[in-house]
């Protein structure tokens, strides 16, 4: 091969390299731009609405004026109910799958596939299911309870996955040494394995909160959208994301408060997500050690 050919070949390698770098970078920049744009728009338009009154007053005039207190309360109650069911069930399922079933048994495989399928179902389907099952069959009607339980079903696969990942990250050496110390299986689970898997479980918890907060479709059918203060878990109430949707789509002149509500929602989500990332990093650091 002549010297020039070699140079040419090298040159084309460089070109390819440059192209790849360019594509990677432009992808990165587009993502960042979209993120900044959405965030910026909501922050800029929303921040002027935020005030103490906005957070502590009831909405008036279909949400055009007033604040979002009842909506915050409903949202809180729904998320609480959701996690109160999804967390224990999710962690228990994960412990069962990871610690008690044989790794490649048919049953474990079946449950694993079910979890993936459940995670892929669109939320509107969960909404329909919740409407049929919780509202009608169980007779909870439009209520925070129905909404919370429907969200629990929706969030469950994610909590299970995160908890399984947390449990998988616990080195087998812990199981060996606790067994060698004559600890019973349940004791080593409660005192060693689950505490060691806590970061993963908490990450699942936060992921659950994030998804529950962001949900609209599944709640429309189940917890309803009245914007008054709920009188209890059997009363219906409006979640934050539904409020944003309603103000933006159905109420003319509701834009300012829609931005304000979106602002609150985004801030909460950002806080929850960064906590999840922080804890996720912590897990990784521990695995490296």
């Amino acid at each position: 091969m002549s010297e020039q050919a070699v140079r040419l070949e090298r040159g084309s390698h460089y070109d390819l390299d440059n192209l790849a770098t360019f594509i990677a970078w432009s992808g990165f920049i587009v993502v960042v731009l979209i993120f900044v744009w959405i965030l910026g728009e909501i922050l800029v338009n929303g921040i002027s609405v935020i005030s103490w009154e906005f957070l502590t007053e009831s909405p008036g005039n279909a949400g055009r004026s007033g604040g979002i207190l009842p909506i915050l309360v409903s949202t809180g109650v729904i998320v609480f109910i959701c996690l109160a069911f999804a967390l224990p069930m999710g962690v228990a399922t994960a412990v069962y799958l990871n610690e008690y079933t044989l790794k490649d048994s048919r049953f474990a495989k079946f449950i694993n596939i079910s979890i993936d399928v459940l995670a892929a179902i669109p939320s509107i389907i969960y909404g329909l299911f919740g409407f049929v099952f919780f509202n009608n069959v169980l007779g909870f009607g439009f209520s925070l309870l129905s909404g919370g339980l429907t969200l629990a079903c929706m969030v469950l696969p994610f909590v299970i996955r995160a908890s399984i990942d947390g449990l998988k990250a616990v080195p087998d050496a812990y199981r060996e040494s606790s067994t060698a110390l004559a600890m019973s299986k349940s004791a080593s689970l409660f005192y060693v394995i689950i505490p060691s898997a806590m970061p993963g479980i908490i990450a699942g918890f936060l992921l659950g909160i994030g998804r529950a907060l962001a949900e609209t479709a599944a709640l429309l059918f189940t917890s309803g959208y009245v914007d008054r203060m709920p009188s209890g878990v059997m009363d219906s109430g409006r979640a934050l994301s539904i409020h944003v949707y309603d103000l933006a789509m159905n109420v003319s002149g509701g834009d300012a408060n829609a931005y304000g509500s979106a602002f609150v929602l985004i801030v909460v989500l950002l806080v929850v997500n960064s906590m999840a990332i922080y804890i996720g990093n912590k897990i990784q650091r521990r695995q490296l050690r």
Partner: protein
Amino acid sequence: MELLDRRENVCEMHAESVFNDSSRFMFCIDKLCLCYGNNMIIENVSLNIPKNSVTSIIGPSGCGKTSFLCCLNRLTDLNESCCVTGEVKVGDENVYSSSVNLTEVRRKIGMLFQKPNLFPFSIWRNLELPLKHHGVRDKEVIRLKIQNVLQNVGLWEEVESRLHTPALSLSGGQQQRLCLARTLILEPEVILMDEPCSALDPMSTKKIEELIMELKGNYTIVIVTHNIAQAKRISDHVAFFWNHEGKGVLVEQGTADKIFNYPKHELTAAYVNSGA
């Protein structure tokens, strides 16, 4: 003179095999076989391990030494594909019989692993947890035991001021000694050690060896080691394993003197002299 010595040794050996008094032995292992799935890993090992002495298990990598050790406290249960046949008697109890009280057996048999495997909690919590699980509730008793056991492994001065910091922040050698402390705190009769020094520097290794020499009056120690010099330094008895067509077999066993100085089997001779 040397000849005489040798004759004495032979007599001793002979006496040992005839005088098969089971109360001298901590473990009586009979026709032990171990499979992972369909692979036989250990074939037909019969071995008696004497009380209050150090028995070394030596042999090339992959001949089933770790697996053998895991049979002694039935840690093999953790692996679903592992199946064991034969008998492992501790005292009068067969570890593998279904009626055995596993908690009691495992409490009697402590184990130290190749890599220090402390829990990701504080030093204190690592020692307190096994105690509490075995019913020691009194705070003062726990404190005394922890101090006592840390002094025994020579760690007290080093960690006294930071008992409540994460155990994983200790150095490797300190972690291994803490593992030993955690094992000792349950007052076992046997300590199984799987290459306890392989990840340690010579100084830490020396410390562990000194501890082994101190402990062997009161404990039965079974140690797997790749370090023949170490085996020579510390062991009273030696069992030599070999990988025969993919299966671990026991080639030769006996007192340290016999195995190292007068090996009967040529494999043994080659192996023990390869490191010297």
